[in-house]
Amino acid sequence: MGRSRHQDGLIVRIALSIEGGLASFPGLRKPVTIDFDRLPAERAARLRELVARARFFSVAPPAPATAARDARSYVIEIDDGTQCRTLTFTEPIADAPLRDLVAEIRDCARSVRSG
């Protein structure tokens, strides 16, 4: 005991909803859940690595963008079984590890949506 599951990389769920962008798409606003039990092992490992590299559970909440227009906001919730955190990222995302994480989650969610 004493070590949280996320330190072991045992993320169990990621949820993404997309707001804004060039148009309003109600279908994209609905949260998409990425269930790690159903992900290919390689992709799950990649996501866990990106979550750790981005320090998702400890990073300071990003300041909202002010000048950008039509930029998308990504509302991301990650649950590792012991803690759950929700952060909103608005493009352009300056921090490279966070940017890579959002891009990967976006791609995973696309696969989930398209079945």
Binding site: L22, G27, D107
Partner: protein, 355 residues
């Protein structure tokens, strides 16, 4: 060496330094030399501060007139990354390249510049000849386009639901108009002023396309982003100004939720208070105004909207009704009673009283 500033036009000795620097960067050879000479030698600028302050407004206007109305476009390639601006791949005057996205962005920026110059005598986004920059191939399978406050950014689309975002000239006009709005009314990007901000981008984005095609209001499709969806999507465009709420109805993207009247106004915290949803209301008002007035939409309805955007009495926090009232006043001022009535009727058609 003979000082160039001896040939300087009369306005140079009373120009603020930041404008001199801008002329030095962007003016003609003669203007550049004059500006550099003045910057280097003319200490009387400081001594004559009182005169300068009195004359600054007039000098600024004279300078803007003097600045050449010339396009300066640069297209960058992000190469699938998300670092801006990326590698410059086509500059102003360069011949077309093999990359269709680069060429579409170049042509779209040009069409937008030409539209504003010809229709409203506006010199680029800031009316001071701002260089137009765009980045293509942003991100991996990235399905969006946005204005980051300084430049345009285009994704290639995911290929599944979206094609490349450079394919629609009205989308390019839409994004650049966000720069115009920021420079003029500065409408805050939240709630009703945010939806107005979005609508103004749709209005002038559509007019860029209509102007390029030399269409009458009745001939236009009044769609935003036609051609961006792949054949797989059940929809024709991102939005319809003619019939908000009908542009798409798709299993993945959902159903177009734009209202066309105030009765359907959506109260939400998402998307900055539904800026891309409630923009359907002023969008439809503009469509009705253009149809009521007839002819080329950019000549009367567009002109009234443009002058309202530049109207110093329009607040950054303007509501739909406040914006509508200003369009009616400006219609009367620029085109008379019939235009005023036509535009008031258009707003009434979406449930907004202007009297």
């Amino acid at each position: 060496m003979h000082r160039k500033h001896a040939k300087c036009p009369g306005f140079c000795c009373i120009v603020p330094p930041h404008l001199l620097r801008r002329i030095a960067q962007r003016g003609s050879a003669t203007q550049r030399d004059a500006a550099l000479g003045t910057l280097a030698t003319d200490q009387t600028l400081r001594l004559g501060r009182a005169t300068y302050e009195l004359m600054e407004a007039g000098a600024h206007k004279a300078l803007l007139t003097a600045l050449p109305m010339v396009k300066q476009r640069t297209i960058y390639d992000a190469g699938g990354g998300e670092t801006l601006p990326g590698k410059a791949v086509r500059h102003e005057g360069d011949r077309a390249v093999r990359d269709v996205a680069v060429n579409e962005a170049y042509v779209g920026l040009g069409a937008t510049f030409d539209f504003y110059a010809a229709a409203y005598d506006r010199n680029s986004i800031d009316d001071e000849g701002l260089h137009l920059d765009a980045t293509v191939h942003f991100g991996q399978r990235y399905d969006n386009a946005f204005w980051n406050g300084q430049q345009m950014v285009f994704g290639d689309g995911d290929g599944d639901l979206f094609n490349r975002f450079t394919a629609s000239v009205d989308v390019i006009g839409h994004e650049l108009t966000h720069g115009v709005t920021a420079d003029e009314a500065g409408l805050v990007y939240m709630g009703e002023p945010g939806a107005l901000n979005e609508s103004i981008s749709d209005v002038f984005g559509s007019l860029v396309k209509q102007y390029a095609l030399k269409q009458m209001a009745a001939q236009a499709d009044w769609l935003i982003g036609a051609g961006l969806f792949t054949a797989k999507v059940h929809g024709v465009a991102l939005r319809s100004m003619k019939a908000p709420g009908t542009a798409f109805d798709d299993p993945v993207l959902g159903k177009d939720d734009q209202p066309d009247t105030m009765k359907g106004y959506v109260h939400t915290s998402a998307d900055n208070g539904g800026v891309h949803t409630n923009s359907g209301i002023p969008n439809h008002a503009f469509y009705l105004a253009a149809m009521n007035l007839g002819g080329h939409a950019w000549e009367k309805a567009g002109r009234v909207w443009y002058e309202t955007l530049r109207d110093k009495r329009l607040r950054k926090t303007a509501t739909f009704r406040q914006f509508a009232q200003r369009t009616v006043l400006n219609a009367d001022q620029y085109f008379g009673t019939d235009a005023r009535k036509a535009i008031a009727a258009a707003w009434a058609g979406v449930g907004i009283k202007t009297a």
